[in-house]
Amino acid sequence: MSIRLLKYAFIEDHAEPRFFNTPADLKDQYEVIIIGAGGHGLATAYYLARDHGITDIAVLDQSYIGGGNTGRNTTIVRSNYLTAEGVKFYDASVDLFKSLSDELDLNIFYSERGHFTLAHSEATLRTARRRAEVNKHYGVESEVVGPEEVLKACPQIQLDCGGNHEIIGALYHAPGAVARHDAVAWGYARRASQDGVEIHQNTRVTDIDMHGDRVVGVSTTRGKIRANKVISAVAGFTPTVLAMVGLTSPIEIFPLQACVTEPIKPWLDTIIVSGSLHLYVSQSSRGEMVMGASLDPMELHSRRSTFEFVSNLSDQMLDMFPFLSQIKVNRQWAGMADMTPDFAPVMGTAPVEGFYIDAGWGTWGFKATPISGKTMASTVANERDHELITGFNLSRFGDYQLVGEKGAAAIGH
């Protein structure tokens, strides 16, 4: 037993200090309002305070912090993307993640596991080779390996996958990691709050107030607030918020489901992904198998779960790991993913003055949390897109300058 724990048992006041304290009332005006207190919104607030000295910020959330897709993803962090824009951006995120526990003074349980994207066909292997070359060009550890190396890292895997989808190779990405997603949101919230940022939960933005072509504030369920700059970081609610400032985008909302099993002894060190089998799996620090599959097949603005999802996922999972047949699924849930046609995010300045977008995070947003916060903060402070995100601006669709990232998505779509 640690001395700290022993001392803790004898003190009368057991309460740990709260992570953040929010004043009861909203002010009439802030310099910056961030809609959405998920990882991205809170990270943006933190870097605005840390890097740019802007602390007169309110982060508003319709519910509680980290309750949207920040707390609903499968916590995978990697940078083995397919485009130059993507690789550079996500690699910068991985770098920030590695030192994030120290930065936030909170253990985010960042755990490098190695990440296998399995290939069951020559076509997938070709994409893997291309990804490996692009990754290496930008200094990211990434290589194509044969089935024997997959088996060495994960002796429990059935390489023939039930006879129909034999594993013929994989893209291996050593820095692939998992992290405790809630801790990322809480850590950013605490540090932002220490710097003077206000976090208001249960405060839904109902409209964005405009004066001509510029944003002047927001209307909320707790009254109107004035602000010079408004950032939308709302994941599955982006089209609704964009409509408030008269913008349209290619973003469409599809549910993405995931589930965990009961905790079992640690056996899976790595992260296994198969786009062809619509499957990704890792083992959490508590021993649960964390599993996800592909998007639901049609647009839906709801977080309902379905039995079809668990049933289809289990079917594929048992082809690969038959010994899991006796393991029970404990929980399942869904998040609303804002999908873009090119599987890259929509970030940065917008055609409306004072309005900034951090959206289009589809099924790939958690891994980008630190770098999104940092680049969005720079974009808002300097009123022009940070150099890492110029390719992700909303204007790329009008200009036909897409950032084709579909081949690097973890899941089949």
């Binding site: 089209p239 609704t240 409509a243 349209t248 985008s249 290619p250 973003i251 469409e252 909302i253 097949p297 049609m298 647009e299 839906l300 603005h301 709801s302 309902r304 039995f307 079809e308 804002d338 046609p341 669709f397 009008g398 200009d399 036909y400």
Partner: protein
């Protein structure tokens, strides 16, 4: 499993169908920026709307009216026969 009553087919599981997007008329003039907007932009907010649904086994297209928040099916018709579903 969600089952829906379809004309011609009877009761079928929703998973048998491919949803091919919202039913909306194509604008008369599609050039330049208007064409880009038509190709890419969506209005993905919760709404009741009509959608194209395709059933591969019978090769039939249907017009399905659906609430994109509650996922309730409000009406189904065979495409081409009538678009006024009720």
């Amino acid at each position: 499993m969600k089952y829906i009553d379809f004309p011609v087919l009877g009761q079928r599981p929703a998973t048998e169908f491919t949803v091919a997007g919202v039913l909306e008329p194509e604008p008369a003039k599609l050039v330049g920026i208007t064409a880009g907007a038509w190709v890419f932009n969506r209005n993905s907010v919760p709404v009741q709307r009509q959608e194209w649904w395709y059933h591969a086994a019978s090769q039939l297209w249907f017009i399905v009216e659906r609430d994109t928040e509650s996922d309730d099916i409000l009406g189904v018709a065979v495409a081409g026969e009538k678009t006024d579903v009720s």
